[in-house]
Amino acid sequence: MIAALGLLVGVVLGLIFTPDVPAGLDPYLPIAVVAALDAVFGALRAYLEGIFDDKVFVVSFFSNVVIAAAIVYLGDKLGVGGQLSTGVIVVLGIRIFSNVAQIRRYVFHA
């Protein structure tokens, strides 16, 4: 309940303040958002399996974000930033899909 409320509060705050993304963070924010989504779906799946732990979730959330941003940063420095961020998106997308498939089995038995 609090988690759903937190998501709602974040969305509303974003809509109200409409902050500008700092120029340096511009390429990393979308990747970070997708990585965080991956962590959230993984946590939801773990919760449904009964093995959820909030400490693990916090660590995986931040490590996902930091590693994704670091990979893109490294790609920028190597001159393959565009390709590497595409790769990160693909990998995270695959993980999100598999997690959502598991969640779907738990929730809808299908």
């Binding site: 988690a3 974040g10 409409t18 773990a46 009964g50 979730f57």
Partner: protein, 257 residues
């Protein structure tokens, strides 16, 4: 502690019994109904996620298409724009040169047109198509007992021409030009098909002194008229109007070479 995003766990849909699925649902329901302390952290993180996601969506919507470009892409775009701008500048310069040329052409054409119009006016005076005004002399020949000799009239015209006469008319009715013809007719003279009678008034535009001198030669036109019994009066005029004009004639046989 298991990873919240396990990849290698077996497919629970087949491996676990239905009771596990029921337990999962149960937990979800309990989480929604009874918040726990651990949910606070999750809520904070989800708030951060929602905030970031909305910010990104806003940025994506509001910013122009270059926001997502990387440094190298931007450099490429910039150099492309520089090339385009250089081309446009070249085109502007070229067009300006063309415009200057066209303006020059127009000025030239205007000058040429003015010159042509001036020439046309001068030629139309010479051809007898336009009225003319200027200094000159007025020669009045009054017939005596004998009719005026055609040769004397022609001599007069030729002398005036050689003295630089630029426009001539007789009795204010007939303009004398290169094609003019003079013949004797009963009661007077037929000039260009028009019958004229005495006194013959010849208006001539040109230098008055030269014209009068040409007529006053020994054995000149005046002398010939007087020998024939006519009286001749020559007056110098400062401003003489020649109003008679000829109709323009298109040459039928003579073609420009």
């Amino acid at each position: 502690m298991p990873d919240p995003t396990p990849d290698q766990t077996p497919d629970p849909g087949q491996a676990r019994p239905g009771s596990a699925d029921e337990a999962g649902r149960q937990r979800l329901r309990e989480a929604l109904v009874r918040p726990s302390r651990g949910q606070v952290v999750v809520g904070i993180l989800l708030a951060a996620l929602g905030f970031a996601a909305i910010t990104q969506v806003r940025t994506n919507n509001t910013d122009n298409s270059f926001a997502g470009y990387r440094e190298q892409d931007l450099v490429d775009v910039l150099s492309g724009l520089a090339v385009t701008s250089q081309q446009a500048q070249d085109q502007i310069n070229q067009l300006e040169v063309t415009r200057r040329q066209l303006e020059q052409n127009r000025a030239d054409q205007t000058a040429a047109l003015e010159a042509a119009q001036k020439q046309a006016e001068e030629l139309s005076i010479l051809a007898g198509l336009a009225p003319a005004t200027g200094p000159g002399i007025r020669v009045t020949v009054t017939e005596g007992p004998r009719p005026v000799d055609v040769d004397s009239v022609l001599d007069t015209i030729e002398e005036l021409r050689s003295a630089g006469a630029e426009a001539m008319q007789v009795n204010g009715r007939v303009r004398l030009v290169a094609q003019s013809s003079v013949e004797s007719a009963p009661g007077g003279l037929r000039i260009d098909g028009t019958l004229l009678t005495s006194p013959y008034v010849l208006d001539v535009i040109g230098d008055p002194h030269t014209l009068q001198g040409a007529l006053s030669l020994v054995d000149g036109p005046i002398a010939q008229f007087r020998d024939a019994g006519a009286t001749v009066d020559v007056q110098q005029e400062k401003a003489l109007d020649i109003t008679a004009v000829r109709k323009p004639v298109t040459p039928q046989f003579a073609q420009p070479q």
